[in-house]
Structure formats: structure tokens, C-alpha cells
Point group: C2
Chain length 343, copies 2
């Protein structure tokens, strides 16, 4: 091993619209690391294997003086987000060489962790693929599972509309809703994604780029639950199609992430006219309540094939910018994963 380059994927400038690979972010190989000799100071050295690229990245590409629920990315520093890696060397009693870890990773090939605060050692008692831990057993899985359990108040026979229904979160929501006996209406932005929603059990599926959302919802609704990942006109259509007392689970609003002032929404008067509940959430705030249940239920369900999932892999740390742009534009085929290295 000895001295090797430690490639890093750096944040370079705050975008106004969509992020631009090479301008917003850049891959850098100016740093090196001596894998055998670098001082661990009681911590452990991790080789990054997989990185998750998620919609919320766009919100981190902001002026750092603007407060939000996650810190802004820092110019000239590596991005960071969920990832999976393998411990190469360790002086820490709870992480030994060969252990796989999951948690918050710097977007670089090698990182020394001082402790297990930001990351956990993966148990993997069902032998799941490592990428599951940044997918259905990771943040996207928790997002779908925890908010569905807490906020859907699902009733058999009711109808749910799931936007971005082929995505890493939406596709799990569809399957959880079917397990609860609901009629599921799913929307996505390509024929391939529409087909996938049908395969995982959605009752009514459509491509929002070629089909009028309101027309589908007026025909198939009214809806009792709406899983919101889009915002803008999709939210307006859901408000129009909502039944009295419907629950709107507000997970994200990607249609507005790349527009400086966001996308305005009309017909919010349906909120009082129909006694709607719009419930926003951030998954990390639900983890204390649901982590134990989640890890009891989801890894097993995935191992047994009761929950399906899929991913699209970009090979190489230098491809993070491409994956980010694809996710922001909805051009990714499934959960975006960057494979930084094999073991």
C-alpha cells in the first residue's frame, strides 16, 4: 500500500440553478496518504467503498449564513453524506480491521475517524449487499418507514398518492402502503420508472411528464394520504384531489430546489376547507423513536424479498457531480450510488 493518492470530491461554488459538474464541484487528487504509517491517534482508518447521492444535497449547496436542518457544504472542502467503507487499520477498541462501517462519510477515498460518533459498525446479520446500508436499510429506508409509520394513519381501502414513486424513498412508501391494504397511485418521470412502480405493486401508475396529474387524481381519488417529494404543481393537484381529513406527509419538494425562490403553490385554501394535515419531517428527528423497530423489521423484510429495491451505480469518486445532477433532474434510474472502490 504505502503512500497513495487520496482523491477528494470538493465543493467549489454555490450554484444559482442546477449544480454544474466541474464548476459547482470538482474532483481533486492533490492529497496523498500513507496508509501504513499515518497516525491514527486512537482512531481508525477507513477506505471509502460506496457513497450515497441524495436530493437534499442541493439544499447544502447554499450560502453558509443561511440556517437549515443540515450544514451547508464548505467551499474547497469535500462534500459529505451517507456512505459505507471498510476499516483498514484501527487503534479503536470497537472498530477492527475488516469491519464495515456506515454513516457520514467525507467524499474522499480514505478517512481517519477518531471515534464512532458519526459512523457505526455494520452488523449485517442477513448478509445484505453493502449498498443496502445507504439505501433501504439506510437513510432513504428510514425516511420512508419512520414517517409512514408515524404520520400516514393508513387505513385499509383508503387511497394514497406517492410522488417520485420509483425513487429510493417513494418505492418503499408504495410497498409499505400496499402492506397496509391501501390503493396506491404512483407517479414518476420515465416509462421505466412507471413499469417499476407497477412491479412493486402500485395499483395506478403514470408518467407525470406525459400525463396530466390532476386528471389521474380526479379519476382515481380522492386521496387520503399524499407522500410529497415534489412540490409546486404536483402539490397543488394533490390539494385539489384530497379527501376531507387527508394527511400530507411532506418529505421534500424537489421541483423547487434548483430555482432561487422555489416554486409557488396555489390552492392552499384546501388545507382548511378539507381539514388537511400537512406534516413535515426530517428523518434524523424520528430516529430516536423508530430506530429499534426499523432495524428489527426492514433488514429482514429485504433479506426475505418482501421489500424490493433497486439502484443505479456511478463508478468512481470523480462521478459524484454527474450523479448529483442526475438526481436533481430526476434522470437517475433508481437510488444513486457512487462506487468509490471495491474492497
Amino acid at each position: 500500500m504505502a503512500i497513495v493518492k487520496n482523491g477528494r470530491f470538493l465543493f467549489k461554488s454555490i450554484p444559482t440553478g442546477f449544480p454544474e459538474p466541474e464548476k459547482t464541484t470538482v474532483y481533486d487528487e492533490s492529497e496523498s496518504i500513507d496508509l501504513e504509517a499515518v497516525d491514527l491517534n486512537g482512531g481508525f482508518l477507513v477506505k471509502t467503498l460506496l457513497l450515497s447521492v441524495d436530493p437534499y444535497f442541493r439544499g447544502r449547496m447554499r450560502d453558509p449564513t443561511i440556517q437549515s436542518y443540515v450544514p451547508a457544504f464548505v467551499v474547497d472542502q469535500p462534500l459529505n453524506g451517507y456512505g459505507v467503507g471498510v476499516v483498514l487499520r484501527s487503534e479503536h477498541p470497537d472498530a477492527k480491521a475488516g469491519d464495515h462501517i456506515y454513516g457520514i462519510f467525507q467524499h474522499q477515498q480514505y478517512t481517519i475517524y477518531p471515534n464512532l460518533v458519526d459512523v457505526n459498525v455494520i452488523e449485517n446479520k442477513y448478509g445484505l449487499p453493502l449498498s443496502a446500508f445507504i439505501g433501504p436499510v439506510g437513510m432513504p429506508g428510514k425516511t420512508a418507514y419512520m414517517a409512514w409509520k408515524k404520520y400516514s394513519h393508513a387505513k385499509k381501502g383508503e387511497a394514497v398518492f406517492v410522488s417520485t414513486g420509483a425513487g429510493p424513498v417513494g418505492s418503499l412508501v408504495i410497498q409499505l402502503a400496499k402492506m397496509d391494504g391501501m390503493k396506491v397511485i404512483g407517479s414518476a418521470g420515465s416509462e421505466d420508472k412507471v413499469k417499476f412502480m407497477k412491479e412493486i405493486g402500485a395499483d395506478v401508475v403514470f408518467n407525470h411528464k406525459t400525463t396530466d396529474i390532476s386528471e389521474v387524481l380526479q379519476r382515481e381519488g380522492p386521496i387520503n394520504v399524499y407522500w410529497e417529494n415534489v412540490g409546486g404543481d404536483t402539490l397543488s393537484a394533490a390539494l385539489e384531489a384530497a379527501d376531507i381529513g387527508a394527511r400530507f406527509i411532506i418529505c421534500g419538494m424537489i421541483s423547487g430546489y434548483n430555482t432561487p425562490d422555489g416554486i409557488p403553490v396555489r390552492r392552499l385554501d384546501h388545507i382548511f376547507a378539507k381539514s388537511l394535515t400537512l406534516q413535515g419531517f426530517i428523518v434524523t428527528r424520528l430516529e430516536p423513536e423508530f430506530n429499534e423497530e426499523f432495524y428489527q423489521v426492514m433488514p429482514k423484510a429485504i433479506a426475505e424479498g418482501k421489500i424490493e429495491w433497486r439502484e443505479e451505480v456511478w463508478d468512481g469518486l470523480d462521478k459524484v457531480g454527474d450523479a448529483i445532477l442526475a438526481v436533481q433532474k430526476g434522470l437517475n434510474k433508481a437510488k444513486a450510488v457512487v462506487r468509490v472502490a471495491s474492497e
Copy 2:
């Protein structure tokens, strides 16, 4: 008595913007009634004394094919809404001459009710003025009390922002919030209203026509509860100033009632970023749960002067259109009441 005119206030045409007295509505004296001889068919004859004019009237001035939580007004028929009257003659065992009744009134001077479905006999054991029954002990009072109790999750020391804080609902919300030990920020649209909010205990008061809402909320917030009666930019400012986990009680959005497509709202992304709850409601849906408690608490609190309220009276049934327009434009000084007749 014998035969008298039975004046009616009729809906004439659906407005596109603000309602226009004489065009949207018209006062009509073409009908007469024989108060002594008219057949009651087992019901009772009521003389209308007071009518309530409320913001939601605008939503009823619509194309009747559009569904909503209250029926559309019918062209060439009298408006209807909450009112108070006195029974002149009765063949009904539960309503006797001289009884005061409260409930849904046709906007006309005299009405024969077949039963006590839409109206109730007023008990008035605290001897409140009759207009209280279309104010703090009527629909506006229930609106404030029931939604505050159910949805505010008020905590001592937290901050609440009350829009339309001098109105019949907002002014009660301010007082309920102070009873719960909250810091109260109130907005209204005139200096007189601002003064009233201060008199009833609001800690921070401002005129939204002369003061920047965001500036006040950024200085005095973050807010934990928002009482929404306005929509549009006021809602956007509240979203910006909300604390994590804040509760938005969505009572109405008057800024958009007189604009065909409503007023769009930006920065809904705060709903997920701050884990907000936006809870819409219609008071009639809360009555089964809270009616008993409300009648135990509010009439007494008002009789003892623990809850203050005020009203603005328009004299004469022909003035309903003026009162409606004042309420829609926010030019009324307080709860709008039309005095149709004295006893």
C-alpha cells in the same frame, strides 16, 4: 301587526374579485307576510334581530358546481348565515313566543322554522348581550377556542403569531394564548386594531400595512405557533420565522378570497426542513368533541370579563352588502354584525 313587508337580502351574481353591493347582492322588499295569520304547520315564526357577516361568505359566492365545505349561495335567494332572532308565534313544543334562538338564519326579516334542526333556543344563563351568540359564544368563539385547544399544543414561554389579531377569532386566540402563558405577537391592519390587540394583552403588536412582517417576526421569533387567517406573503413570513416543530393552525386565508386563483405561497420547503405541522380545520367538524366544554367555559369567562370582545354594527338588513365588503377588505373595525331589527 297584520301584513308587513318581509325584506330579504338576495344573492344576485357571482363576483370575480371583491363582491359589489347592488350587483353581487341586492336588498328586496317584494315579499310580504301576515305575521298573525301565516300558517306555521307545527313550526314557529321568528323575527330576525341580528345577522353575522363573516369572511367565509366569500367562498359561498361561487359557481355552485364547485364542491366545498359549505354550500354555495343560490342566485335570487336570500343569503344565509349565523343569526339571532326572537320567536313571535309557535306551534312547536320546544320553542315558545319570546324565546331567543341562535343558528342558521335566512337573510330576511321573518322566517318560519319547521323545527329546531338549524337553530337552538338560547339559554343565556349569564345574561350576555344577544350579539355574543354570533360572536365569542357563537361560531367565531368556537373557531378560536376549539382549534386552539386541539391543535396549539401551547407551552408556557413559547411564542405565537396571530394574524388578524383584532378580529372576532384572532382577538380570542390572543387571549387564550396569554392564558396559556405564551408570548403573543399580533398583526392587524389599522392603528385602532393594533391598540385593541395591546389592550387585550398581546406582547408585540404591529400594523401589517405599515410594518414589515418578516422584520418583526425575525426579531421577536422564532414562533412556535402560527394562527393563520391571511395566507400569501404573511404565511411565507411565518414559515421563514417558524421554529422547529412549530404548529400552524390554518383557520383561513383571506388574502386570496377575492383573487380568482388565490395567492401563491413560497418557501413551503420550511415545512419539511423545520418539521412543521400545518393543520387545517373547519369548526363544525370540531363541535362534537368540544361543544360541551366550550359552553361550560366561554359564556362564564365572557360574563366575568375574563375574555374581552368587540363588534361593529351595521343598522338594517339592506346594509349586509356593505358589511360583507368591509370584512373582505379588512375595513371593519371589529366583528361585523348587522342589526336587522330591535325587539
